[in-house]
Every structure is written in C-alpha cells, then in structure tokens.
C-alpha cells in the first residue's frame, strides 16, 4: 500500500513536470530541434560515400588515335563515353591541359582528366596507355577521393580491356580475369547491406541525448524548484520525499526517450539507417542508460545549491564523457590510457551495446556484459545518491 501510494506521488510529480514542459512552447521546440541539429551536424560534417557526387570533371581528350584500323573504335572514346554514363560525374569537355587548369582555378570544375595524344598509339604498339588525373590541391579531401575513384574506374576499364586482348590471343582460356588479377578483395559487413556512417553515429547520439536529458535535466529541475521555492511545497507534503526525485527522474526520462525516438525515426527515414536489432531492446537499453546515470544526477543535485552551479558541475562531467565514450569516434583509436578512462564511463557501454543492437542486430546474450556493467553502475550510484539526497534536502 505504501509503495502504491509512493508510485502515485511519483506519477503526480512526473505528470506535473511534463505538463509544464509541454506548455513551454519554446522549450518544447528546442527539445525537438536539438536532436535534429545534432543528427544533421554529425551526419553532414563527416565524409561519407554519398557526399561525393555529382563531381564536375573536365575531360580533355587529346588522343589522335594513330594507327586505328578500320571498324575499330578508339579506346579513348570508349573511356569518355563510360565516364559520361556514370551518375557520379558531370563531364565538361576541355581542349588542353591549360584549359583544364584554368577551369579548376575558376572553380568551374572540381578536377580534370587528360587523355594524352599518344594514348591509342601506345596501346596499339603494346605499351601502357596513361591517363592523367588533375586534382585541385586547394581541396585535399576532394583530390584524394577523385584520385581514388579514378584509379578504381580506370583499373576496372583496364582490366576489361586486357580481358578482351587475352581472349583474342588465347581463345581456349576460360577465365582471363584470373590471369590478369589472380587476387581480389571483396568486403562484407557482419550483416548484409551497405555500411553507412550514420549507423555508427545514431546509436551513440541516442545514448548521449538520453544521458544529457537526465544529467542536465534532473539537477536543473530540482535546483530550479529549490530556487523559486516550490520544492518546499512538495517537501512539506506528508509523502515519501524520494517520490519527488523519482517523479522528476521519470519526467526527464520521458523527455530523453522522446528525443531518442526522434533520433531513431530521423536516422531511419532521413539517413537511411537500417535497424538490425529489436526496437524494444533498443528502448530497454535506453532505459538502462538512464538508470546508470540517475545516481550521478542525484549526487550533483544534492551538492549544487543553485541552478547555475548544477549546470556548471554537469558540463564539467559531461564533456569528457561525450568525447571519451566513443559516441563520435571509436574508442579503439584512442591511446591506451584514454581507453582505460573510457572504460570507467557508463556511456561507453550504453553506446557500445546500442551500436551492436542497431548495426549488428545483436540480441541480449551478445550484450550481456554491457547490461551487467550498466546495471552495476546504476545500483552503485543510486545507493550512494539516495541517502545523500535525503540528508542534503533538509540542510
């Protein structure tokens, strides 16, 4: 009966907080805009496959096609046609090397290709045909991508060309490609489908947003009420005082989950993320994420006398957590000592578990160690926080 009554008080406090939240139009708008910005930002500032293209390219075909026999098509012409058909490129023709350089300088194109005058001649006389790729050094990233893309494309065209030559030379050969390129690589993810950078980012952003909601929201909400005096109104009520903080936590959790859901919906609809694992498990993990942070939030609430102090304490703790937990880049890239620190942060485990579920479709057994660690963090911090809260509330 006592527990039922406490639950009712928790519900009352949470409902009151959420009513206030939903009536604060600007605050509510920010609540929705924040994850959109966050997702958009991390989604677009990091390079991904989709960010290349359509690339504007100047092509100067200076091949004079010496020694071309009747009925034969110049290889250079085939190359230009092939490039023209590709969606990723917008081709502009140029007349010379200088012309291409000028176009790059004027910013009309992002790169250029020169097919030299002796291209066909070289091929027909048994030598290698060379293609020159001109890159824009002022944009190193685009240069790199263009160089890589061109090498791959011409490598492919070259291989097709060689395949034909070998077939003509040795008609009995079954698989000429195996002669030209005996070794080849195919990349395959642990789950079928194309990997997308958002799939790496989305779970981390979700875990982080939920954490931020509770970590910033809880101390701010309590110290705000303490400052304006309404906390006293709840404290003089003949209720279990824990229900005040639990109710507030519930409200902040709902807020965090709302943001988490928004991120998930955006990730799927706008950024082409495929959720491999189960959605209930994702929400379960987000709740566990909240649980692991609530204690820290309450500890800070107990110590901070006003909202400003609470916010400053929060920021000090939160920033290292954000960067050390592998939300933005894998922890494996960090030096060993930083990796050790990241192991002390619950967010690391929440991020890792969510990533496994969203990207790899992992089930509960595969993430059991993360679940145990998160639960332990939660239990330990809550055990520290509750007596501290009770004592500090009646200073």
């Amino acid at each position: 009966m006592a527990i039922k009554l406490t639950m009712y008080h928790v519900y009352l406090v949470a409902r009151k907080d959420l009513t206030e939240l939903f009536r604060n139009r600007l605050g509510l708008a920010m609540l929705i805009i924040m994850p959109v910005f966050m997702m958009g930002m991390v989604g677009f500032i990091f390079p991904s496959g989709q960010s290349l293209g359509p690339v504007t390219l100047a092509v100067a075909n200076m091949d004079q096609a010496y020694g071309l026999q009747k009925g034969q098509v110049a290889t250079s012409g085939l190359l230009v046609n092939y490039l023209n058909r590709m969606d990723n490129f917008t081709i502009t023709s140029a007349s010379s090397m200088d012309d291409v350089r000028g176009m790059i300088q004027r910013g009309e194109v992002e790169g250029g290709i020169i097919i030299p005058a002796n291209f066909t001649a070289c091929l027909n006389s048994g030598r290698q045909g060379t293609i020159i790729v001109i890159t824009d050094q002022s944009n190193p990233q685009m240069s790199g991508l263009l160089q890589g893309a061109m090498t791959a494309i011409f490598h492919q065209i070259g291989a097709a060309f060689a395949e034909q030559t070998i077939k003509t030379m040795i008609p009995s050969i079954k698989n000429p490609l195996a002669v030209i390129q005996p070794l080849t690589v195919t990349t395959q993810g642990a789950v079928p489908g194309h990997f997308n950078y958002f799939e790496f980012m989305a779970p981390g952003i979700m875990a982080m947003n939920v954490m931020m909601s509770v970590m910033t929201g809880l101390p701010a909400a309590i110290s705000h009420e303490r400052e304006i005096g309404t906390l006293d109104g709840m404290m003089v009520a003949p209720i279990n005082r824990l229900s005040i903080i639990l109710g507030k936590t519930l409200a902040q959790t709902m807020r965090g989950l709302l943001q988490g859901t928004l991120i998930l919906i955006m990730a799927v609809t706008l950024f082409g993320v495929t959720i491999q694992g189960s959605i209930p498990l994702i929400f379960g993990l987000l709740l566990l994420d909240v649980f692991s942070f609530v204690g820290i939030g309450i500890v800070i609430t107990s110590f901070a006398k006003d909202q400003e102090t609470a916010t400053m304490m929060m920021m000090t703790i939160m920033f290292p957590m954000m960067f050390l937990s592998g939300v933005f880049f894998p922890t494996q890239q960090m030096p060993w000592y930083m990796q050790d620190i990241s192991k002390l942060i619950p967010l690391s485990y929440a991020t890792s578990a969510l990533r496994k579920v969203v990207v790899l479709g992992a089930g509960i057994p595969a993430i059991s160690s993360e679940i145990i660690i998160l639960a332990t963090f939660g239990i330990v911090f809550t055990a520290i926080a509750i007596p501290l809260f009770k004592r500090n509330m009646t200073r």
Binding site: R23, G229, D232, G233, V236, P238
Partner: protein, 337 residues
Amino acid sequence: MSEIQVKEIVKKFGDFTAVDHISFDVEKGEIFGLLGPNGAGKSTLIRMLATLSQPTSGTATIGGYDIVKEDSKVRTLIGLVSEKLIMYERLTAEENLKFFGKLYGVKEDEMKKSIVELLELVQMTKWKDVQVGTFSTGMRQRVNIIRALLNKPQVLFLDEPTLGLDPQTTVEIREFIRKINKENGMTVILTTHMMAEADLLCKHIGIVDHGKIAALDTSPNLKKSISEGDTTVLEFVIPNLDSDILSTVKALSNVTGVSQEDPTHLMIHAIGSDAFDTIIDAIRAKNGKITSVSSREPTLEDVFLQITGHEVRDSANQKIAQPRRGFMMGGAKSRAR
C-alpha cells in the same frame, strides 16, 4: 498542552548561528507572531518547524509530535506559506491546487468541494482556469495561501505573507488570516518585519533579533513595559542635523536608541530623569539648533528599538547597542523558558 513547544532549538550554517537557543510555547488556536528584521532567523526557525531543515541541536514538538523524529507525522498537521510563492507559473490556479492537494493527501471528493469554497473565499473563482504566470502578485498570494489550507492544517505557518503586496491586498490578506483563525481555530505562526501587522494580528509577539528571542509577550504588555520604566521617547527637529551631532547623541550613556526619520528629524530613546537635559546640552554643544521637541506614546517600533538597540528596517548587520535592558528579559523569560 501547548500546540507548539520549542526547546532550545539551534541552527548553525558553518560558523554562523542563524537560530541561537530559541525556546517558546504557542497555545492552540492563537496567532503567534515572530517579529524581526530580515536575517534575524525567523525564516530559518519556520523552516525547521515545518520539517524543511534539520536543527543543529534542540528540538520542538507540534501537536505532540517531534519535528525531527516524527517529521512525517508533523507534516500531516501543517500548512506552509513561505516567503517564496509555492506555485507553478505554467499551471492554472486550479491545477496548482489539485497537484498540491493530492500530495497533501486530500481526498478527491473533499478536494473538489474545498477548492470551490476556498477560491470563492479569496474571490479567485473566475481565474481558476488561468495560468498563474499571468497573475499579479496579490492574486498569486491569495491562491498560495489557500493552497496551504487545502489539507485543513492544524498549524499554519505564514512566513511574511504580505511581503511585496499593495496596501489593499495586504489589508485583505490580514482580514483573511484573522477569519480562518477564528472560524477554524487554526493555530497560526506568523513571521513579519512589519510592526503594524504583528500588532494587528498576533496575540503573543516574539521579538527575534540575531537568532534569539529578545522579548516575548502580548503587544499591550510589550508597550507597557517600556513606558512603565523611565524610558522617554523624544522626537527632535534639528534643521542643521549632521553626522557629528548624531554620533555625539548616540555616544551618550543614557541614550538607548537613535533613529533618523529624515534629514531633520531625530527619534531618541533615553533613560534616566536627566536624559532630556543631557541630550539638549549635547546637541547645543555641537551647535545644533533645536526647533521642536516632543515626546510620544511608545509603539511596537519603539519596543523593538528599545530591546534590540536598532530599528527593524535597519539591516541586521548593524552593531547592537549593549547592554540590553534587564527588566525586559525578565518579562520574556517567564514565557520563553
């Protein structure tokens, strides 16, 4: 048995003693006033009695329950109107009342009835569905006070209930406090820094200064206590009043309190039959021109000045004139054990 018994209660914040061994009793059904300047320790005392703050030492009972050991029992008996409004701006008046009513354990059907009645009582019925954020200070305070009455408390704490209100609302609120006290027999503990308020409402008044109760009695007795002695309240008009004259007067051994009303008016509390002559001589010696002298009936303000050596409206950090009058403490001690 007394409704409230405070025994040697102390509250320290670090080295600072906010409440210093305060003891007093409050009878059931009376309005008890705690009068003192800001920072005297009134609010801290109220917070301890309302179980919002733990005493450093000592304790108190409310309705027989200990405020530390039986704090949850105490909370079922009390209502609190604190210095800060206990209202959520984004909730309507009725939503606020319902929220707190439910937390205070008021039954659903009872609550509906009392919300209607209470809103009517403070003439706020037509505003019940309006968000509190749009209310004036006076409207907020009316709702705030009825919020504290929802659970029909046995003891009501009112911490500066008319602070920052316009004169008309102040009068209304005071009337209302008197009415609920009379009709429901509720014990009311009121803190104020306004003499008139304490004088008007309270049966017994405790004068609080620097964390201690300096005197405790009914208002007539307090006033009588200073006029019965050889204290004189003199009002001087000195057109060329300056700080030199002021400090000279203050330094006189038979002057117990000095307050400057405006650039030319000086209110002086003095003891001894030769006080009048001594003061006039001192002022003249500093070339002060006296255009008028009058003596008048002591008010609570005079009582406060007399007892504490400084005015209520002065901040608490002003130096206290020592020693305090012995006969006053005697009167207070009989009640403030």
